[in-house]
């Protein structure tokens, strides 16, 4: 095995990569969480005595926190165990540690919980059969209410040739990282030490400190290999419980979720209702009203980012003269809403694209021409008044349309070809730093985020270091270490790694080249090259081996050091358009346009995706192989959301399909042949103009499939996923 395409292939194909699930520490105990038996209720009693009577078993509950943690200031809004009120089914109400997994489960079964049931809010539309009015602000279920507007919306609607109104419904979808959450915690002297499968070691440290009320400097988080993240492993989850049990027992403690609990406790995208109204005059969109009712589970009021951030994706990427947007985040008795690859953006794109396609059809306009003529161009402003930066969405759409035309010319009856856009903004708003160390024969990039599989750390950061220094890949190594040793980084999420941490690598590498030039007595930046295994620097006509330029002092510290940092560059929206709540500015504008050819069984409504093409603006592509792989993976995940994935919550707050049999992610058989193309020349804020690519590819997929289905058979489905049954209903077969 060479690891030539992916450096981590060597350990992953040998079976020696250690993931969170694989951690095994001598003397460790096995932990489990005690689940709340109902979704909402007042705790009468939690009786831990029988469980505690088992040999070797330790049980901790709400009453033990003060004893174990001392007087620190803990996050009162997010108690680790509820004192009085249970707010979602399976919420942890105690935790056990035992010598084996079987004994831990036996202990869980012995915990007696007495609860007085309270009425539950299970579903958006049961709670709000009518759209909430301003009186809803006082309702305890409203976690956030955001409103913005611009222009004379009423006048535009009054003067329109045509007003089209529709309602869309989207499903709860889960990240389904194949590795469940897992960690092992130990108390080492004064240090609370946890090894965990996470997208963000520093994020876990910060969040754990806040939950436990202990200083961040007392906590060390070490990331393992990560068996998929997709947003679900971005902040602390099991770590505080494992640390508490380690504290209580004096032993290392392993806490991992079974896969059903992975679904039941996972924080992810929840259902939503989206209303779209569009006023058209002379073939142009004059005004839009967009309203969102988003289930945020037990997210805390004031801590819901989703509504104000996601809602922006319901307005773009299309021009409109006037708009009004309003969103409610509705608390229900489910686990809190959590990020899932481009949180809620695929659902927004599904509504926006399907709706505008529908509007054009209602007006007998060409749906693609209609959207193309309204697509943002560079120099436009977003509805919230932010200038649209370099953005290849229009170029991508043009390529997609051309592909669709070619496919239509050859597609048989019963097939349909659809095109849709999706846009996203990458989160280079989160900072980070790296340290480079150059010795006589290699360059080490020292950083604090673990590769999660996307390739952004091992592939992306390496590619940036190579490109700036000119060194070949085999001379550049990524060195990850835990939070006590590594430079700070926010983590691998929000498609930020390449843009933010890559930017830090670029800055550090430039600094390194300057230092080398200086030592050669020249100005500017030295060029690096490799000659017979040794790295040489050259500047201003002087050339020397790096080994000879390293000082004796530096040699004791591994070589010449350079540091690089990424700070968020502030972007602003026009706050005068905001009436209520928080809206957010975009950083890089990213996204693309996709084409799907589908066949629809006219008798059953079953949809099969026959082929697929994705066109993306990724700024400048730094690592072509990894970039293509991100698009392929994102499209596949989007096809799941489009066709088969739906977490079904019952009226009593139970997740009915908590398992991989009935929550259906695509298998190899559902994935069509796929082509991927990048549109370059729309520079982003990342190194060399790169833009992040982890999230954007999933965004256009459900919309693209929905429009292709409509093209194939006329079914206009307004609800995700597009199951055969829903398509059959849209076809009026039932």
């Amino acid at each position: 095995m060479s690891g030539a395409v992916r450096p981590d292939a060597v350990v992953k194909l040998a079976g020696t990569a250690v993931y969170g699930m694989d951690l095994d520490v001598p003397g460790m105990l096995w932990a489990a969480l005690v689940p709340a038996p109902i979704a909402h209720g007042r705790i009468v009693s939690v009786d831990l005595r029988a469980a505690r009577a088992l040999p070797g078993v330790t049980v901790i509950g709400a009453d033990d926190l003060a004893r174990l943690l001392g007087p620190g200031e803990r996050d009162a809004e997010r108690p680790l165990f509820p004192h009085e009120e249970i707010v979602y089914r399976n919420q942890p109400i105690a935790a056990v540690a035992a010598p084996s997994e079987a004994e831990a489960r036996a202990a869980v079964a012995l915990v007696r919980v007495e609860v007085d049931p309270l009425p539950i809010v299970a579903d958006l539309e049961t709670r709000f059969p009518e759209w909430p009015g301003s009186e809803a602000d006082a309702a305890p279920e409203i976690a956030a209410h955001v409103r913005a507007r611009h222009g004379d919306v009423e006048a535009e609607f009054r003067g329109a040739d045509r007003v089209v109104r529709e309602t869309y419904r989207t499903a709860s979808v889960h990240q389904v990282a194949l590795e469940p959450h897992a960690c092992v915690a130990e108390i080492r002297g004064d240090v609370w030490y946890v090894r965990t499968s996470t997208q963000s070691p520093f994020g876990v440290r910060e969040d754990t400190a806040s939950l436990l009320g202990i200083p961040e400097t007392s906590i060390v988080v070490d990331g393992t290999w990560v068996g998929g993240g997709f947003g679900g492993k971005g902040s602390s989850f099991l770590e505080p419980y494992a640390l508490l049990l380690a504290r209580a027992t004096g032993r290392p403690v392993r806490l991992a979720l079974g896969y059903r609990d992975e679904f039941r406790l996972g924080r992810t995208t929840l259902p939503a209702v989206i209303r779209m109204e569009t006023a058209v005059k002379d073939g142009r969109i004059r005004a839009r009203r967009v309203r969102l009712l988003l289930d945020v589970g037990t997210s805390l009021p004031g801590r819901d980012f989703a509504t104000g951030y996601s809602i922006g994706f319901l307005l773009g990427p299309y021009r409109t003269e006037a708009f009004e947007v309003e969103g409610y985040a509705v608390r229900t008795h489910k686990p809190p809403f959590g990020p899932h690859r481009a949180p809620f953006a695929p659902q927004c794109a599904f509504a926006v694209e399907s709706h505008l396609d529908h509007v054009a059809r209602e007006l007998n306009l060409d749906p693609e021409e209609f959207r193309a003529s309204h697509l943002w161009r560079e120099g436009d402003t977003t509805p919230l008044g932010q200038p649209v930066g370099p953005f290849g969405i229009f170029a991508a759409f043009e390529r997609a349309r051309a592909t669709a035309r070619a496919w239509r010319a050859e597609s048989p009856p019963g097939h349909g070809v659809g095109v849709a856009c999706g846009f996203w903004s990458t989160s280079t708003g989160a900072g980070g730093e790296v340290r480079l160390r150059l010795s006589g024969d290699r360059l080490v990039v020292h950083e604090g985020s673990r590769e999660i599989g996307s390739g952004s750390v091992l592939g992306g950061l390496t590619a940036v270091a190579c490109r700036v220094t000119g060194l070949p890949r085999e001379r550049v190594a990524i060195e990850y270490s835990d939070t006590s040793k590594a430079p700070f980084d926010s983590g691998v999420f929000g498609s930020r790694t390449l843009g933010a941490l890559g930017h830090a690598v670029e800055e550090a590498a430039v600094a390194l080249r300057r230092t080398l030039a200086e030592r050669l007595g020249a100005r500017g930046q030295a060029d690096l090259s490799v000659d017979r295994g040794e790295i040489f620097a050259e500047a201003g006509g002087h050339r020397a081996s790096v080994g000879s330029l390293v000082t004796a002092e530096e040699r004791t510290a591994g070589g010449i050091l350079a540091e690089g940092r990424h700070f968020a560059s502030p972007r602003a929206i026009d706050e005068s358009r905001v009436l209520q709540g928080s809206f957010y500015a975009y950083t890089d504008f990213t996204g693309g346009a996709h084409v799907a050819e589908v066949s629809v069984d006219p008798a059953t409504g079953a949809v099969r995706v026959e082929r697929y093409a994705a066109f993306h603006d990724a700024g400048v592509v730094v690592d072509p192989g990894a970039a293509q792989a991100q698009v392929e993976g994102g499209v596949a995940m989007g096809l799941g959301a489009a066709l088969t994935e739906e977490a079904i919550w019952s009226e009593d707050g139970r997740l009915e399909n908590a398992g991989l049999l009935d929550y259906r992610i695509p298998t190899l058989g559902e994935i069509p042949p796929m082509t991927v193309e990048f549109l370059e020349g729309f520079a982003g804020a990342g190194p060399f103009g790169a833009k992040g690519l982890g999230e954007p590819p999933i965004v256009p997929v459900p919309a693209t499939v929905a429009i292709a289905v409509r093209e194939a058979c006329g079914a206009h489905a307004t609800e995700l996923p597009l199951s055969a049954e829903r398509v059959a209903r849209a076809l009026k077969l039932l």
Binding site: A603, T604, T644, L661, P666, T667, E670, S723, E725, L734
Partner: protein
């Protein structure tokens, strides 16, 4: 997780004795284990003793003229790999291929599927359409029971205390077909499954459906209207209508009752077409 004792009898008599030694529910036989072990993990069953059937000489496939006897512990994968099965019992071949994944089929067995008796079983409808019979061994001797009587409801069969499924007997090679619809085509549970087979000896059709409550069932009235040979398109349509109106479909998280009724009609039409055109259909 429940822990249990595993015993590995060498003969059918020993297996029956081991099973009989404990109260029903306290002992469970294991063949592939792909259903049993999930049931154990999820607390649906809690046997004290599990009786392995792996040393019994039941991993067999015996042909006798057109009749086929399938040993109950033969892995499904071996059944699907047999070239003659594909030719003589196309419906069975198609149904076996529809069960889980290759890895699952390397352990899962026909006997296990029958005893699990799932309403959404893909194999039971086919066995019904083929007039399959179940050969049982037990404390009071051997007996043979039609699948139609053996399978009663989810996890409920005609098995008496101490009895084991030894084999499944298929009396006659039949032009046949099995069609299903699922939310996800690969590796999922069928919303509706339809098995059709034509008996050259009896010169009549057998239609069975899965995804119904309380168990997969034959639809004799639908079978009857298909006639005694190649059915006309109006006969097929009539059979489909009967299937849609008579089958006891339910609404669950996989599909609504209404949609299942709609599906069964379409699948039945297509299945008959496939059986007729699959070759070897008698003139």
């Amino acid at each position: 997780m429940n822990s249990f004792e595993l015993v590995v009898p060498e003969t059918a008599e020993e297996a029956v004795a081991a099973l009989q030694a404990l109260a029903p529910g306290e002992a469970a036989p294991i063949a592939g284990g792909t259903d049993l072990l999930i049931d154990v993990d999820e607390g649906r069953v809690a046997p004290r003793r599990v009786i392995s059937l792996r040393r019994l000489p039941w991993k067999t496939l015996d042909w006798n003229a057109g009749a086929l006897t399938v040993g109950s512990t033969l892995p499904l994968r071996s059944l699907e790999e047999d070239p003659q099965v594909r030719v003589s019992y196309p419906g069975l071949y198609q149904a076996v291929r529809a069960v889980g994944s290759v890895a699952l089929r390397h352990r899962a067995t026909l006997g296990g599927n029958l005893v699990r008796s799932a309403p959404a079983s893909d194999l039971v409808p086919v066995l019904l359409s083929l007039d399959a019979e179940v050969d049982l061994v037990g404390p009071s001797g051997d007996r043979r029971v039609p699948v139609d009587r053996f399978v009663q409801a989810s996890r409920r069969t005609d098995l008496r205390p101490g009895e084991l499924v030894r084999s499944v007997y298929l009396p006659e090679a039949r032009p046949s077909a099995f069609l299903w619809q699922r939310v996800r085509p690969s590796n999922d549970i069928s919303q509706v499954a339809v098995a059709v087979a034509f008996s050259p000896a009896q010169r009549r059709w057998k239609v069975a459906v899965g995804g119904v409550t309380p168990r997969p069932t034959l639809l004799p009235e639908a079978s009857d209207v298909l006639g005694s040979g190649r059915p006309t398109s109006s006969e097929v349509r009539r059979a489909s209508e009967i299937a849609a109106s008579r089958a006891a479909f339910v609404t669950d998280r996989r599909a609504s009752e209404e949609y299942r009724r709609h599906l069964v009609a379409t699948l039945l039409e297509r299945a008959v077409g496939s059986a007729v055109n699959g070759g070897r259909f008698p003139a």
